[in-house]
């Protein structure tokens, strides 16, 4: 209960590689575009994609902003090199500043962070259009459930290979994939402003939160049973509050149904029909 169930990592990696290979084949497109942040999620997603379809079909981009830690770019280079990929660097500092000035959000750290995350999305989808390619998502289940992502920013992608993996499982998969230790051991960060870390913003570490999320979301334990199982009551309240508050992010938009043929309600159809 206090630790997540283990996963068979070779089988997990093989299955996720199959997912990426099959999604690409079914789409009829040529490859993947992934933003390498220098962090663990994008490194794992990129490694799976390279194993699935080959390094020549995965375009890696680094998209630093005005306050990105230089170490992030260095780590992105390290990941790309370890996977045999070329890294395309596009510095978003100037367009981010210009847009922030236009919108008047430069002083608001959260708004500016969201703006930068969405500019990265713009860059990735634009690059994908040139091939054309799918945009490889890097979100994990912990982030999605806690709402620790920017809607239509880092959460926007064509496919999400890690979207049903808890963050601590992503750590385990990263070790199995033998990614550079510099990347797998550093504290997770969205790198939207200097010194930002996931734990600093959320107020807890994924290794403490994941077992609570798992026991609630998957095993159905409510707050009282979580506390009875030995979890810290303050942490339980905090994690479950985020879990409830951010449920809208599970489904980023809602269509108003006024006919009997509403998309994805009355008409749920396969994504990739034969052309």
């Amino acid at each position: 209960m206090r630790e997540l169930p283990a996963l068979h990592l070779p089988l997990l990696a093989e299955a996720l590689q199959g997912f990426l290979a099959e999604e690409l084949a079914a789409s009829g497109l040529t490859g993947y575009v992934v933003g390498l942040s220098g962090g663990i999620d994008s490194a794992v997603a990129a490694a799976l994609a390279v194993r699935a379809v080959g390094a020549s079909r995965v375009i890696a981009m680094a998209l630093p902003g005005p306050s990105s830690d230089p170490r992030s770019l260095a780590d992105a280079h390290l990941v790309a090199e370890s996977l045999g990929m070329a890294l395309e660097v596009r510095d978003l500092s100037q367009p981010a500043r210009q847009l922030a000035e236009l919108l008047g959000c430069g002083e608001d750290r959260l708004r500016f962070g969201n703006l930068l995350a969405r500019l990265r999305m713009v860059a990735l989808f634009d690059r994908a259009r040139t091939l054309p390619a799918l945009v490889l998502g890097t979100s994990n289940k912990s982030e999605i459930l806690l709402g620790y992502s920017t809607l239509f920013g880092d959460s926007a992608a064509s496919v999400q290979p890690l979207g049903d993996l808890w963050k601590t499982q992503v750590f385990a998969l990263a070790s199995y994939l033998e990614l550079p230790e510099e990347v797998t051991t550093k504290p997770p960060t969205a790198d939207l402003w200097p010194g930002q870390t996931d734990a600093g913003e959320l107020g807890f570490d994924y290794r403490d939160a994941d077992p609570i999320l798992w026991a609630h979301h998957e095993a159905g334990l409510d707050a009282a049973r979580l506390v009875a199982a030995g979890f810290d009551p303050v942490l339980v309240d905090h994690v479950l509050a985020l879990y409830r508050r951010n449920r809208f992010k599970w489904r980023p938009t809602v269509v108003a149904r006024v006919s009997a043929s509403a998309i994805n309600i009355d008409r749920i159809l396969p994504r990739n029909p034969e052309r």
Binding site: L7, H8, L11, A15, A26, D266, L269, R271, E274
Partner: protein, 287 residues
């Protein structure tokens, strides 16, 4: 001209574990023809495809556009391929009286020689079959040149009464075709395949009948299917090593009528079924 080979008591059965794509029937047909070619090369007399193999599984409302009648041009290449070996293919069958069945169609000698319509339509969790299909009404053996087959489609096998019914009178073999989704856990066999192996094994040893299990693999709409196709004899011995989870493959397992008869001589469990207990249970349930 190819013709059905003479019946024999021993022959290979091929289990085609393929990864299909929902909404891409021409792609799926190509996968069938490739697997049939491999099965033929291995001397198989019967090749078994997973549930809804020709259409893909997670169709949802796409069932309506994927549904076909038995004269659909998509079936023509499979009819032709069935001239010298029997083929069990899964498809959404448009019924003359309305509705669409989740069907397994047995082709042999260039014609349809039997159909099983799925009896139990799972409509819980990630399953929504009750919205899109009508349930079959009968469980009857399908007969082909080499004997009789009891065919079960996925959820049919989760009701253990199915194999009891197929034991009275006993079929030569039970065929289970599935589109079984799976989760990954701590072992090298995914959760779905692990459960299926228990189920298929229990069915084989309680009905003292060989069971041939063809599951699909790969992904559809973000859902992993767990593979693990397998065959087991009526005493619980593997007839072939189970297929891996994630790889398309064609397994070839032996069938032996004398071995089936011998096992049933040693273990008469099905003949000892107490149907008066079933009758009492039915009365208690008000059925």
């Amino acid at each position: 001209m190819k013709t059905i080979p003479p019946a024999t008591d021993e022959f290979p059965v091929a289990l085609a574990q393929i990864a299909t794509r929902p909404g891409q029937p021409r792609h799926n047909l190509r996968r069938h023809l490739e697997a049939i070619s491999r099965a033929r090369s291995a001397g198989a007399r019967l090749v078994v495809f997973p549930e809804l193999s020709l259409s893909g599984y997670l169709l949802n409302h796409g069932v309506a556009e994927a549904a076909m009648t038995l004269d659909d041009p998509l079936l023509a290449p499979l009819r032709e391929a069935s001239r010298d070996l029997a083929i069990l293919v899964g498809l959404p069958l448009r019924e003359a009286g309305g509705g669409i069945s989740n069907a397994a169609v047995l082709l042999e000698g260039g014609r349809v020689c039997g159909i099983h319509r799925k009896l139990y339509l799972p409509t819980y969790g990630m399953f929504d079959e009750g919205r899109f299909f009508v349930a079959g009404r009968r469980l009857e053996p399908l007969t082909f040149n080499f004997g009789t087959l009891g065919v079960l489609i996925c959820e049919d096998a989760w009701h253990l009464s199915s194999s009891v019914f197929l034991s009275h009178p006993p079929v030569d073999a039970i065929i289970v075709v599935a589109g079984g989704p799976s989760e990954i856990e701590d072992g090298p066999v995914p959760a779905g395949a692990r459960r299926w192996h228990w189920l298929v094994g229990a069915m084989a040893i309680t009905s003292v009948t060989p069971v041939y299990f063809a599951n699909r693999c790969g992904w559809e709409e973000g859902v992993l299917f767990g593979g693990g196709s397998w065959a087991v004899d009526g005493r619980g011995a593997s007839l072939v090593e189970a297929a891996p989870a994630c790889q398309e493959t064609v397994l070839v397992a032996p069938f032996s009528r004398p071995a089936v008869a011998w096992a049933r001589t040693l273990v008469p469990v099905p003949r000892m079924e107490r149907f008066e207990l079933w009758r009492a249970a039915l009365e208690n349930a008000g059925a």
